[in-house]
Symmetry: C2
Subunit: 598 residues, 2 copies
């Protein structure tokens, strides 16, 4: 069975040494008191919970999956899931980043994100139960009526109840405009909702006595398409005015999906039959309200992806040091043994370093994105808030798609380090790969992310947000442009930045004439921009490491950082050489293919 050690040192490096989050908190009145010690204490406790409570039940969850009792519509989660959730609630973890008005602890999202990464390393399937609950909390917190907030938020914040997002229907996933579920207004101001939902993560389970479903449906007079969709809160059990549970509502689990991975999470078909719900936000404005959850969920997928990358890396590293097989090509390295540990082989190191570079680069990017959200939500200066919102909107599709693609590559590389044993379930590596595969699909497929990035976030505002990110790079170049030791890290980023600026103009011009040109370039474009962002963070991490080393710090952690940064620029960053070519190859070669795809 795989093991997991919370990467506290690296989380602290990113938070305190690279991003200096507590300095930023000082400018945010509601987080001004959150200091380094507080952050570290929370990380340590959270890490302990992950390593001791949820990691040990990850393989069991995969093996057992969830089961549905067709008669009662009740779902049983794998052994240990319920007890772990009770401990999670008892520890107050659901409340960590929630609003104190509803019982939350009000800590910054950066701190919450660090905890989420560790939870996902330990057990992605389990973590999706509290993960969806937090998403539902956010949507209700932003758009709920005072009554809804009073009724639901304290229970979601405490974790006593859980939440879901009910979007997808059998005939519509990406294209929510085709949604058919119907909501009939009732005399008492409530709605009766009928429809069929599929792929509802955490949709039914035995962890909590009630589930608050946030459901998209159409009002009788709603316009067609995506502008006629409203959002409703539909509890599993109707809730009495005093907060106690009332009658069973007409919303139940009609079936569970058999999936490639995340078996421990119940992916439910949800049937609504005259289910009682209340409107969240304005009529026909359900999609924007839901998108509050969606953006957080997309950052969350980034956290899932680096979580899986990190845990796969840790286990592959341990195996590579332990497994004795063949001699080093340059002569025996451990003559006392019949063969050398496989970590002596360059390609084994390449596979390990690929995972390490993707995990650590991803960690910096996700933590930075969370910090931007903290600024957006909590900074007193409106301009800072707006700028942060802009930048996080640009980075969100990169966090979701770039990191989940990388996790697929990285977990597969880590499996490969194990040779044949990587293919065997007991070693746990193949579960990481299977679990990682969903991250490229849900919360908007990675193709959708790329269209969102190129179409909406870049070309949609004539590159003005992209220029803001460009300023960060320019600032780093200015700071370190004369430092010879930084040249190996800064030059490739600066060069790619120039290339990308030109290419963005070029593709903008082509897409103006033919929108399919954007569709043909977008996936490659996202990966190029992903590497630009990664390159920037790897350069900043190298900067910190170099300064420490020059100041006489002998902690090998900093040498390790430099080595990983060098590996990243030598071995992963050059993907951009391919991507710039393929992104430029245009739409015709893809679309003029009717005979090929006959």
């Amino acid at each position: 069975m795989p093991s997991y050690t919370p990467p506290l040192r690296d989380l602290q490096f990113v938070m305190h040494e690279v991003l200096k989050v507590t300095d930023e908190y000082k400018a945010m009145p509601r987080h001004a008191e959150v200091d380094v010690d507080t952050v570290n204490a929370v990380l340590e406790e959270g890490g302990k919970f992950c390593a001791e409570v949820t990691a040990p039940i990850n393989a069991i969850g995969d093996e057992q999956g969830c089961t549905l009792d067709q008669a009662t519509h009740e779902v049983t989660t794998p052994a240990g899931f319920k007890a772990a959730y009770a401990k999670y609630v008892e520890g107050g973890w659901p409340a960590l980043a929630c609003d104190p008005e509803f019982g939350g602890q009000g800590l910054p999202l950066t701190v919450n994100q660090a905890i989420m990464e560790m939870l996902n390393s330990a057990n992605q399937a389990w973590t999706m139960y509290p993960g969806l609950t937090y998403a539902a909390y956010e949507a209700l917190h932003a758009h709920g009526t005072p009554e809804q907030k009073k009724l639901y938020l304290p229970k979601l914040v405490s974790g006593e109840w859980t939440g879901t997002m009910c979007l997808t229907e059998p005939h519509c996933g990406t294209d929510l405009g085709m949604l058919r579920s119907k909501a009939e207004p009732q005399a008492d101001g409530s709605y009766r909702i009928t429809g069929n939902k599929i792929f509802i993560s955490s949709g039914e389970h035995d962890l909590a006595p009630n589930i608050v479903h946030l459901v998209l449906a159409r009002l009788p007079d709603a316009p067609q398409g995506s502008k006629g969709i409203s959002l409703f809160a539909v509890p599993k059990f109707n809730v009495n005015a005093d907060g106690s549970l009332g009658t069973r509502n007409g919303i139940w689990c009609g079936g569970l999906e058999h999936k490639m991975g995340i078996h421990g999470n119940a992916t439910a078909q949800i049937v609504l039959e005259d289910a009682v719900g209340t409107l969240v936000g304005e009529p026909n404005k359900g999609l924007p309200a839901m998108f509050v959850m969606m953006n957080a969920a997309r950052i969350g997928v980034g956290g899932q992806s680096i979580g899986l990358t990190e845990v796969a890396y840790q286990n592959a590293l341990a195996y590579a040091k332990d497994r004795i097989q063949m001699r080093s090509l340059s002569g025996p390295k451990d003559k006392s043994k019949p063969a050398d540990p496989i970590i002596v082989h360059p390609d084994v190191r390449k596979m390990l370093l690929t995972a390490k570079a993707y995990a650590e680069g991803g960690r910096a990017l996700v933590m930075y994105s969370a910090l931007l959200i903290d600024r957006e939500l909590s900074h007193p200066d409106e301009k800072v808030r707006a700028e942060a919102a802009d930048l996080v909107a640009l980075l969100t599709p990169i966090v979701k798609a770039f990191l989940s693609d990388n996790a697929w590559t990285a977990t597969s590389s880590c499996l490969q380090v194990f040779g044949g044993h990587g293919y065997i379930r007991e070693w746990g590596m193949e579960q990481f790969v299977r679990d990682a595969r969903i991250n490229m699909i849900y919360e908007g497929t990675n193709t959708i992310q790329s269209l969102d990035l190129l179409g909406r976030k870049v070309l949609g505002n004539n590159g003005s947000t992209l220029k803001k990110f460009g300023k960060l790079i320019a600032q780093l170049v200015e700071e370190e442009g004369v430092n010879e030791k930084m040249a190996e890290f800064i030059n490739p980023v600066a060069y790619l930045g120039d290339q990308l600026t030109k290419f963005t103009t070029e593709i903008g011009f082509k897409a103006f004439q033919n929108p399919d040109e954007a569709g043909a370039a977008s996936v490659d474009y996202l990966r190029v921009l992903g590497h630009l962002v990664f390159g920037y963070f790897w350069a900043r991490m190298a900067q910190v490491a170099l300064r420490e080393i020059e100041a006489g710090n002998t902690d090998p952690f900093y040498q390790g950082k430099l080595q990983t940064a060098r590996f990243y620029f030598a071995r992963l960053f050059p993907e951009t050489a391919m991507l710039m070519r393929t992104a430029r190859s245009g739409a015709k070669v893809l679309l003029d293919t009717d005979a090929a795809l006959a």
Copy 2:
């Protein structure tokens, strides 16, 4: 459940129009009578068998897996596997390419390879039972004593019995030099073998009454390391002189592995306790004897990889035409429906064409490799035989590693076309991905393939074999260099060929000083050479298609070929731009990483 249509048209295109195999057969006395009609009739019958018999039980095999009765050590295969195997034997399929002296039909390996591709599309796990049997047949045919041949070959050829390769032990997979199983010579000339084997594909099952295991073990006085390993034939049931089954031998299944995929194939732990065996080939020369099987097995993995790529492609294509979701970016394409089929989107086409280009390019490469083996085994001219052997030795690691890496990418892309449904087991796409993952590992990991290619097959003879392949490219350039319409296909190949020649010299020089430089470059090098080979075959296929079109042939098949070739050069071939950079980045950035990998 996925469907499968045998790609007869494309197989025939590769065999008859590109490689013109029957012209080649004419020069081989034992195949001189095999004409186009014969080949096509066999393909058609074989395709029918795959579509009707083994494809329908592929998902069942994945769902049920194999079960071991711990008391009897007997294994039950999934429902339908035994009946399908009986039909396979009844149809005479095992004998297709076997020696007529032992009951075989003596058809060329190219024909057999086409059948194997289709069998693997239909059901890779099932196909591994006859696949391993053929490998055992080959080793015994090449190295067995007259008695062994008489006893075993007719039964393996008819398929009445099956075979295995027993190499791996718990502590040694890649590094067979560490093998511990022991063989004690007996007075009667036989051996008593004791040891533990793992990962034995088709190691135990209920398809046939007897299994002929080919087992690697050490003689008592054997030298240490890989030069002290001998090969033995160890039947499950001892065989009486008249061919009837005798006593149960001391070789049994101690456990079955739980794997990521290929569940329908029994991956057995094999325990040998005083098992009676007979020596195959010379003492201490077991590894070279086993390598007869290994090379064929590696080409076989290529066939598995294109088989999975083809079937995944077929199903993703059908889904992309059927699934209605969103509008084309350039305006509605099917106004009669609420949305367009997703095949209108450029990136969906990219995913489909990736699979198609990898399947069809791989098909050409695998069939060409099989043709080289036909030349090697059956051509009367010794020089032709030697040249073919040389070339197939060069191509084998590319077939194994390049095609299996491509299949992983391609099956995953096809899954992605299905969005969330791709992650659901019932659709069958995720099984193709899980099954494909083993191909990168077994029969020598892809890293080992790359070391074999660069170290042994390229640098090992100073690039002389590589030059032979270069001559094929030069010949194509000469033929078509003045044909403007071929320029888009030929120029990139010629350019990459020049680059690779320079790089090979460069890496040879560096590796001479430090062998780790070869290890650091080899994986990227293999993929560059893989694209060079693919580029060559795509150019040849485009050549045929262009000639047909110019001759007035209006079959859209040829336009489709050109479109796929264009896609390949625009979208997949540019990977070499990245690979040449990363391959050049050297060993230091990988090996000087002790602090990073602490």
